[in-house]
Point group: C2
Chain length 436, copies 2
Amino acid sequence: MIVDTLIHARWIIPVEPESVTYEYHSLVIDKGRIIDLLPTQQAKTQYQGTTTENLVDHALLPGFVNCHTHAAMTLMRGIADDLPLMEWLQNHIWPLEQKWMSEAFVRDGTDLAIAEMILGGTTCFNDMYFFPDITAQQAVQYGLRACVGLIVIDFPTIWAENSAAYIAKGLDIHDHFRHQPLISTCFAPHAPYTVSDEPLQKIRTLADELEMPITMHVHETAHETEQALAEKGQRPLERLHNLGLINPAFMAVHMTQLTDEEISRFAESGAHIVHCPESNLKLASGFCPVARCLAAGINVALGTDGAASNNDLDMISEMRTAALLAKAVAEDASCVPAMTALRMATINGAKALGLEHEIGSLTVGKSADLIAIDLNHLETQPLFNPVSQIVYAASRHQITDVWVAGKQLLKQRQLTTINLPLLKQRILEWQDKLKH
Amino acid sequence: MIVDTLIHARWIIPVEPESVTYEYHSLVIDKGRIIDLLPTQQAKTQYQGTTTENLVDHALLPGFVNCHTHAAMTLMRGIADDLPLMEWLQNHIWPLEQKWMSEAFVRDGTDLAIAEMILGGTTCFNDMYFFPDITAQQAVQYGLRACVGLIVIDFPTIWAENSAAYIAKGLDIHDHFRHQPLISTCFAPHAPYTVSDEPLQKIRTLADELEMPITMHVHETAHETEQALAEKGQRPLERLHNLGLINPAFMAVHMTQLTDEEISRFAESGAHIVHCPESNLKLASGFCPVARCLAAGINVALGTDGAASNNDLDMISEMRTAALLAKAVAEDASCVPAMTALRMATINGAKALGLEHEIGSLTVGKSADLIAIDLNHLETQPLFNPVSQIVYAASRHQITDVWVAGKQLLKQRQLTTINLPLLKQRILEWQDKLKH
């Protein structure tokens, strides 16, 4: 049988079923989908690929699902470091955004983020930012999958004047991209302290009707929970429960402040946590109790957060930090083993976005969103377990090839859909503007 | 004037003086030493290099000083993950060491570590392992600087039968390498729970006489301090103070368990802490209170620990983890800013080893131990502050060139002193042996 792409790999880590690693197997891709996964010897007799890849030193695995980004903020990477969250936002990020926010800013920042994400093996990202239509458009242009967050915030910005306008513009984007297979949308109310009850109630109704997920920063810092308790008499999570928001279509991003009762109630709701360990560390926001959340049965996905507070969009590094930090926080070195970290970065992200039937594992029938990592680098030798090497020793520079929906976006470390010199030139122009 | 090497760089980060970054400057190297640092325009008129490097996109900085390694253990990278310290040691690492430890094991493992360290910008490492003579010999062979720890432990191994033998063999190594400029030595009693008072007293006397530093794992876990308190009625640090060990020539590695009184007393002693954040996280050992230690005036250096518990020898990643983790542990995002992390990885390490007059900064008169990082990667764009990009965004793969004592060990990412294919072949043989 002639197929679009046939990939022979030293290892295939499908993620589902869990803890399985196939050796000398091949993945068969046709019309953008995975149609078979079988031993290479058999594959060579059964299939002929229009394109064939021989990845003799590589592991093939599902692409990373980065469940929390502010892609355009990559333009502000390193512009203000070593500051607490509110000072960083109020004195640096928000003033810069007020001055420079535009379609061009979002386009160029998103392009930089998309290039960095493809180079780092991310095949799907969930974004929250202004001009989400531009974010969706750029993702389509470069072939990357995105769940685009339709931002809602109480105060006016260049993107919308009030919460009704944010919601209306969001719905237009939802309609515009509804038949675009790479794009899905979710509501993205910014945070409990920046969105009031009325828009949240409206979002809840619309999300139910349109079957859209909701993503929101929740319990990012102790300051947030303490202030809410002082001002409104309840912690933000309780308010969101009371508003009916916390359900299997809800993603709570950060969640560093959690009581045992909150963990139990959240687990019962079927909602998801998006853990952003490097951002939480850098902004000294606190520690998400990942091991306790996983033990309670909560689906925990991973996000890098924006590159202005990370300072990268590197999901390998985020997996490693998540695995290492969870052990120390739980005082148990057996917490979040390498395979769990890899699941957080792949299938758990797909589940959080409601896309688990389409992506997140190398399963026959799913979209061909996958990456190859060359493990024959000195830094990943010797090799006793490829999953351990990927999570604890490999660098994103070892990722050689990336496919989304069967289309190759990275080929032997070369971007196939992005003109890198031109992109760098545009970034340089923003660097000059932003620093003055 | 004709000199050995003239390096023109986009940025030079000398580390001393602190917080200075020179733009379009040049470093002048002759006979292994830094003899000048001046604007490139001037350098071009004053000096002519036998070798000249034009690093138009690069930052030049002192090489990293990795203050805690078990280099040969790189052969066990990823062989046993996600386990607590004592289970990891007793059921996995020690049995494997008992079976396989030999001169050949130490030689090949050290070669792998040295290659990885050079590729990652480390120019000096402080090792603790068996057969330290082999470690020193391999470092000399490949041109890397090392402070070789002369291990002492109460129980017999293939290296020595009792503490007197460990010490005697150590002294032979000290004598043998005393005129080798790349090699210094220190005593390396393993830990308070594995070395008794008598050898510690002897080590203290010898270290004073020979002016050698001492390095030791101290307060790595709560289990260690609790067990000592239960069995001996005092915490290990108190015992070491009473034995007279804690002085400006002492390096305490790990130090995750520290009371305020212990921090004050340690600060007064002038002794050094070697912080190994990734190992402490991975083994769930605890959090070293770095911000409090720095505030008390303690010199805190950085180490990766062995690659069997890290799982790499990547000092850029270790700097990043140290900077991020310190903020969260102290609940203060302004703790350990990027420049402090870079100092921990360079000049603080040099101070801990008593080598600050020779290495740790790009200072006229010091040895030319330095590295170049190419910041013109998408992942470090835009660029507002090179130190921030190096600590928070760059990867070790961006390190292009490495010099030790003026000799170039890495040239455009190619190792100049190591035959990489042959090394990989030897590692593969060990992989086969160790996994059966």
